[in-house]
């Protein structure tokens, strides 16, 4: 591995240097919260942000995008020009980095999505270490560390960042745009201290042993009725979730009534008509069946196909859900006694 140390006061210079050739997407303050947004001014970037409202995966699977343009008169179809502009996602937390690796499995697997692929391949990712908040449970499903998926990874070691360079392009940008120095033994000790502090803040992870098995075995039990009776089917959890990727495809018609766009937009499996077929039969007619399905996908269906639980414990849904339904509580409900109603 190729290690460097970058002084924190160099970050604005680095970002502005990157912004010459790349669109830089970085966390900035918005009201009381933080969002990923395009930046050109390095001073606006906040690298010690708690979390963002919407995850950075939104830069690969857009909330809404036109896939095609069509002409309904002659059936002529023109594919939308792929968005492959050079882009840098700067300041991505470990949980969100792991989430990107998870959506990669879906969109770059057996069936490649050309739109996702174009963006993914033209985007560099600079990860950054974080200080866990109360709602962070990244260690619950092992998303508290990243081994791949970034070009550069910055770990906070006081007045500087310990930088791991994993791609040639990332290393070259770092060397060209800012002054860095080789990591010393002292820097490594600072890194160790960060890791120790990080572990301490996270505390002990909830035990998720055999959750898929419990999920399947207790699939028809009343605990889902209880959780479902509280779920509002609002879809807020899936809108802020970095691993949720359900989408819908709809046609939009231009004012001329002949041409139009076929549009892909984010959807949520909690929406009432999500599994309805023509003629009106709905395979998940109740809120309980839909909220159960959402967690079933995360804890069972995705792992069955891709080998990993599809939750990175970023904690966004813990604050987005107004009735307190979240992965920790579902895990506790599956492990706990049904009679208590303690979901």
């Amino acid at each position: 591995m190729f290690f460097r140390v970058l002084k924190k006061d160099q970050i604005p210079t680095f970002i502005e240097g990157l912004a010459v050739d790349y669109e830089v997407i970085a966390p900035i303050a918005k009201g009381l919260a933080y969002v990923f947004a395009p930046v050109t001014c390095g001073a606006r970037v906040v690298l010690d942000y708690p979390t963002t409202i919407v995850p950075p995966t939104a830069y690969f699977l857009k909330p809404k995008e036109a896939l095609l343009r069509y002409n309904s008169a002659d059936g002529e179809v023109v594919e939308t020009v792929k968005d492959d502009r050079k882009r840098i996602l700067f300041g991505v937390h470990p949980c969100d980095l792991n989430a990107i690796l998870m959506t990669d499995k879906v969109f770059l697997g057996d069936y490649e999505d050309p739109y996702y692929k174009a963006r993914r391949e033209s985007t560099l990712i600079v990860g950054v270490s974080c200080t866990p908040r109360q709602s962070c449970v990244c260690h619950m499903f092992g998303a508290n560390e990243v081994l791949q998926g970034y070009d550069l990874y910055l770990t906070d070691i006081g007045d500087a960042y310990f930088v791991q360079c994993s791609s040639v392009e990332g290393a070259q940008l770092l060397d060209t745009l800012v002054e860095t120095r080789e990591a010393t033994a002292e820097d490594t000790r600072a890194l160790q201290k960060h890791v120790a502090r990080f572990r301490q803040t996270l505390g002990e992870a909830p035990d998720t042993t055999q959750i898929p098995l419990l999920f399947d075995a207790r699939y028809d039990e009343e605990l889902w009725e209880e959780i479902g009776s509280r779920c509002l089917s609002c879809g807020a959890c899936s809108a802020v979730c970095p691993t949720c990727y359900c989408f819908d495809i709809v046609d939009e018609l231009d004012a001329n009534g002949v041409t139009g766009s076929r549009v892909r937009c984010w959807d949520s499996c909690l929406n009432s008509q999500f599994a309805e077929v023509a003629g009106g039969h709905d395979f998940r007619p109740t809120r309980a069946s839909r909220v159960r399905h959402r967690f079933y996908h995360k804890f069972w269906a995705y792992p069955a196909r891709y080998g990993k639980t599809m939750c990175v414990g970023c904690g966004r849904c813990y604050t987005a859900c107004k009735v307190g339904i979240n992965p920790s509580r579902v895990v506790a409900a599956l492990q706990g006694d049904v009679g208590e109603g303690e979901a």
Partner: protein, 291 residues
């Protein structure tokens, strides 16, 4: 028997370096009203090269585009041997299918596909086949029936049980009426409510199991129909001692993307669009929400 092989739905696209979301323009070449609500549409893909490469298995489905309205998944009714044309039997029950019913011969729609895992046609060869369909389930099954017909000598006894609510709702009634008298097919039709024209059986399709003989060691069962039908027909097939992994059924779900990404057609931990829509009973038993 060999493992139920997964069909790579994206193969056709890869051969042509296609975007999986890009539909091919296709012209409606014939429209045959079948019942009050169902119509058989025949399409011809306009692009010559695409049409030449197009191939599918019985049981697979297409995404039908009416530009400006949207897409709907429809199973293919014609046999793969009918080259150059694709038949879809469509029930007028939604926005896309409603718009299609307003169209005429020569109009242009979009088609992409084929998607999904169809019936294990190759693996069925050399076996007796017991096909059971109800209502609109006859649509995907017709593709299989016609394909078996084309290679009839490769199969043992072929028994077809068809059920509908009344004689007017039997899809492809003309064809099947004639087939009742064929010696190489044992075809029995039944309706819940007969009318004066009806000379077939009366009652649920499950009743017909008393009239047939099944060799459980050598028979493959296939079921297509409304969700409520599966459980009862499976019960009958199990009474005839058909093994759980030799009963195949096709699931109806809301496939949107066709490539296992949008999540609309999830059945438990699988997707109807890439893992199905045809599953065997053993697989279905292990899928939450399957039946």
């Amino acid at each position: 028997m060999k493992k139920h092989v997964r069909v790579d739905a994206s193969k056709a696209y890869r051969a042509l370096e296609q975007n999986p979301y890009r539909p091919w323009a296709a012209r409606i070449t014939s429209i045959t009203p079948l019942t009050e609500k169902e119509t058989l549409f025949e399409f011809r893909i306009i692009d010559h090269e695409v049409r030449e490469h197009f191939n599918f298995n019985a049981g697979q489905f297409m995404e039908l585009s009416i530009f400006g309205v949207g897409e709907a998944p429809i199973s293919i009714s014609s046999a793969p041997s009918k080259k150059g044309f694709i038949e879809l039997c469509v029930r007028n029950s939604g926005t896309v299918t409603g718009a299609l019913h307003e169209m005429s011969c020569g109009d242009v729609v979009g088609l992409r596909g084929p998607f999904g895992r169809g019936f294990p046609f190759q693996d069925m060869k050399g076996h007796d086949v017991l096909l059971v369909a109800g209502g609109l389930g006859i649509a995907p099954l017709k593709s299989l029936i016609n394909h078996i017909h084309d290679e009839r000598q490769a199969f043992g006894t072929v028994t077809i049980l068809l059920g509908a609510r009344n004689p007017d709702e039997i899809l492809f009634r003309q064809q099947f009426d004639m087939w009742r008298h064929r010696e190489d097919f044992n075809l029995i039709m039944t309706v819940d409510t007969p009318d004066e024209t009806w000379d077939g059986e009366v009652g649920l399709v499950t009743r017909l199991f008393d009239q047939i003989e099944v060799d459980p060691a050598n028979t493959i069962g296939v079921i297509c129909g409304p969700p409520v039908m599966y459980r009862f027909v499976i019960e009958k097939m199990r009474e005839k001692n058909l093994p759980v992994d030799r009963i195949f059924m096709s699931f109806e779900r809301r496939m949107k993307c066709g490539i296992g990404q949008c999540n609309h057609c999830a059945v438990g931990h699988q997707y109807a669009c890439i893992d199905g829509p045809v599953f065997n009973y053993w697989e279905a038993m292990n899928l939450q929400e399957a039946m």
